[in-house]
């Protein structure tokens, strides 16, 4: 397939199919409806199953079932729908099942609105579900990157037997860019010997998919084992991009759509104001790339950090953890479906540099 023009939502759906996803269970919600619509058209062509469930809760439990049987499976939703899925996500973490969950974020809280937002950062990175649970969270900034990360997500889910989230926003879901579907780096994935594929009573032990542990010692043991995986994920899978960070006097940080706006800001600051700014763009939001903030905060020329988000300030807390008090950390953003403007960010940078000099 040569380069084609695709919407973010469609591209994520096609990338999933090309990564071997053959099961999709979901429930419609704007601004991610092109994902189920595309899956409904394409999956039957691949002998796959598309099913519109009666609710988000039903859909995530169908994901649990298909993942338990060893299939590559995906669900997608937007903010309020993800809240509904959280019980299931926690069960999937507890049962150590691989799956991919897409959240094309809209403004909240509550039913909120259909316009783009990044206000589900805490939910995605800090509270995948109840209990000690995490998901790997990828935050693409282009449609091409959404394709690559969706394909990678299925491998990472299988490798660590844990759900992986693609966290986009309404703009990324709706915008169109040229994309190519190229295979991602091949991983040596373990065979799914744990899957409930039907027991003949002879050839192997009975496989059980479960997240209930009656004895606290056993549950603690299970959680510790899951957290060993998380330590390994934090070591192996963390991803970020640095852009114009050398010699920068201020490090801006942003992910997804906001990072695209910030890149324009960096060019304009350089040209219009002679200000050297750089951006750290986390690609994995969990695990968060703390180390690069630690490294940047040691640089003498860096005066301050600024987190730009479509929220009231969520990722900024992780930036503070990374910077660890060595430099001031500021925040600017818009919320409720509003998008920060280049000028707003430029004005903020100028006022910070005035304050810190």
């Amino acid at each position: 397939m040569s380069k084609v023009l695709m919407k973010g939502n469609e591209a994520i759906a096609e990338a999933a199919i090309q990564a071997g996803c053959r099961y999709f269970f979901g429930y419609p919600i704007t601004p991610q409806n092109e994902i189920p619509a595309y899956m409904a058209k394409r999956l039957p062509e691949e002998n796959g199953v598309f099913l519109q469930a009666e609710s988000e809760i039903a859909a995530i439990n169908m994901v649990y079932g298909a993942a338990g049987a060893g299939a590559r499976v995906m669900t997608s939703s937007s903010s309020p729908g993800i809240s509904l899925k959280q019980e299931g996500i926690s069960y999937i973490v507890g049962a150590e099942l691989p799956c991919v969950i897409v959240n094309i974020v809209r403004g909240g809280p509550g039913l909120g609105g259909i316009q783009p937002a990044q206000s589900d950062y805490f939910q995605a990175t800090k509270s995948a579900g109840h209990g000690d649970s995490h998901m790997v969270v990828y935050a693409p900034a282009t449609i091409q990157e959404a394709v690559t990360l969706t394909m990678t997500a299925f491998d990472v889910a299988d490798q660590y037997r844990n759900p992986v989230m693609i966290l986009g926003d309404g703009i990324l879901g709706q915008m169109m860019e040229p994309v190519e579907f190229l295979p991602v780096k091949k991983r040596d994935l373990p065979e799914k010997t744990w899957a409930t594929t039907g027991w003949d009573g002879v050839s192997r032990q009975r496989n059980v998919i479960n997240s209930l542990y009656i004895k606290p010692e056993e549950l603690e043991g299970k959680v510790l084992q899951i957290y060993d995986k998380y330590a390994q994920i934090a070591k192996e899978e963390v991803m970020h991009e640095c852009y114009d960070c050398d010699d920068a006097e201020i490090i801006i940080t942003a992910y997804g759509t906001t990072a695209r706006i910030v890149k324009n800001v960096i060019e304009r600051l350089k040209k219009e104001k002679g200000i050297k700014a750089g951006i750290i763009r986390p690609i994995t939001l969990w695990p968060f790339p703390y180390a690069v903030y630690e490294e940047m905060s040691r640089k003498a020329e860096v005066k301050a950090f600024l987190s730009v988000e479509m929220s009231m300030g969520q990722m900024v807390e992780d930036v503070r953890l990374g910077v660890n008090g060595k430099k001031p950390v500021h925040f600017t953003g818009r919320t409720g479906g509003m998008v920060p403007t280049e000028q707003q960010i430029i004005d903020k940078v100028i006022s910070i540099l005035k304050e810190e000099s």
Binding site: K3, L5, K7, E10, G113, I114, P116, T142, M175, K263
Partner: protein, 250 residues
């Protein structure tokens, strides 16, 4: 045959539709992501001087954003009256059409551009106005981007025509090849679009109104190249990209 394939928008609107007695109605349909909105907005803006009144109706009930309603200030500056769905500027997730649309059919001498949502799903809404279209002549343009996944071949475009005509209960009168990859569009993509568009035109007898070409790519060389390649006059029209305000840098 050759003459039948290429027919200018100007000819078709002026010759086929009686001037002065009714509004000139241009309906832009096509596959989701074909560039309908950009082509519709560009056409509306470029033709304002020819009509005493210009109206653009955003009748897209499929897209939540990236739609012509977002270009209100651009359209006002161009002297175009925008009629947008009731929910277009809000967070309402439920499309509903303003009654104002019913009134446009009596605007004698006006140019009315319908920017319709993608695919047969988007075209369905046109059925609401079926009684008007039965009495008023119209031009319905199918915008085709052969770099979109469901309109890459002649067969797929023919299928799209059938679906859109069936659900809209209208006939497509013109084709507009508009093959593009956004900012990465090259001359080869434009030619690829003309090739498929020409095949569809031969098969269906539906003429090509014009070729949509990204404004940065349009040139005399390109027009000469098209003429040499296809031995007919095809009008290229520059398409300026308006819906890029949220994109930033990748």
């Amino acid at each position: 045959m050759a003459q039948n394939i290429a027919k200018s928008l100007h000819e078709s609107t002026v010759e086929e539709l009686p001037p002065g007695e009714a509004p000139i109605i241009s309906i832009f349909t096509g596959h989701y992501g074909s560039g309908k909105t950009e082509v519709a907005v560009n056409t509306a803006i470029n033709m304002t001087s020819q009509y005493k009144e210009n109206v653009l109706i955003d009748i897209d009930v499929v897209n939540p954003f990236y739609r012509s309603s977002e270009l209100q200030s651009v359209l006002i500056d161009a002297g175009i009256h925008l009629i947008a769905p009731n929910f277009a500027f809000s967070n309402m997730d439920l499309p509903s059409l303003p009654p104002e649309i019913q009134g446009v059919f009596s605007k004698t001498g006006a140019h009315i551009v319908f920017d319709v949502g993608g695919d047969e799903n988007g075209a369905k809404v046109l059925g609401v106005f079926n009684s008007y279209f039965k009495e008023h002549p119209y031009n319905m343009y199918l915008v085709i981007n052969t770099r979109r996944h469901l309109t890459q071949t002649k067969e797929q475009v023919l299928d799209m025509i059938e679906q859109i005509e069936k659900t809209s209960r209208l006939k497509i009168t013109h084709l507009v090849p508009n093959t593009n990859l956004g900012v990465e569009t090259s001359i080869e993509h434009v030619l690829e679009g003309i090739e498929i568009g020409t095949q569809v035109s031969r098969e269906t007898g539906i003429p090509i109104a014009f070729i949509g070409v990204l404004d940065t790519l349009i040139s005399e060389e390109l027009e000469t190249l098209i003429k040499t390649e296809y031995d007919i006059d095809m009008i290229t029209r520059p398409i300026k990209r308006y819906l890029t305000h949220w994109h930033g840098r990748s």
